[in-house]
Symmetry: C2
Subunit: 117 residues, 2 copies
């Protein structure tokens, strides 16, 4: 049962999932928003100092398009925009958590492995 989404075909939910969370900073952004939300752009920037602003905005736009992140604009000057996880976005918590956990295990594994000589 093929899924059509944004002019592409996906053959499993897994493939679809990877296409929407697969960007360089997306898991990081979602992780930030799971810790604390809402967050403003400049707050996300502070939490992810290795990402540049342009990239963060692009990834946020895509997450918004995919309905994973909600964007709330306040009509004030200077502009105020808040980002939040949607309901389906919040459901990514097990994905993010399991990746973090495995990553920590893998780091430990690499360190143990490196000591073997």
């Amino acid at each position: 049962m093929v899924i059509h989404y944004k002019d592409k075909e996906y053959f499993t939910g897994k493939d679809l999932a990877l296409s929407v969370i697969g960007g360089r900073w997306k898991i990081a952004i979602i992780w930030c928003l799971l810790q604390q939300s809402p967050l403003r752009l400049n707050e996300i920037e502070k939490k992810l100092p290795h990402a540049n602003q342009r990239m963060l905005i692009r990834q946020l736009r895509e997450l918004e398009e995919d309905k994973i992140v909600l964007r709330r604009v306040y009509p004030v000057v200077p502009p105020k925009v808040e980002y939040d996880l949607s309901e389906i976005g919040l459901q990514l918590e097990p994905v993010v958590t399991s990746i973090c956990n495995w990553g920590d295990d893998f780091r430990d594994f690499l360190q143990t492995d490196a000591k073997k000589d």
Copy 2:
């Protein structure tokens, strides 16, 4: 605490994790090997008909380099090579499972969402 791996710097386990499981076919390959293993190259090809052989081999090589997949070569003709998950590779099961589950939820969400007009 910065992690150095393959000439790059990673600032969290999560970043490291994403760098090793982030290839186009890696989660798919790991998923196959979680279902059934060992598997030979041509068996993986049959299970992932949308990937071409060249890509599968490249991704398998990287997974092998990262010690996630084990490669066993039998000195026979025609060649026989079996692929398996390593111990740390097997530990990716929660990651793969949570991605699959969320992907299915997301697919349902998209379908429900599309019906709203």
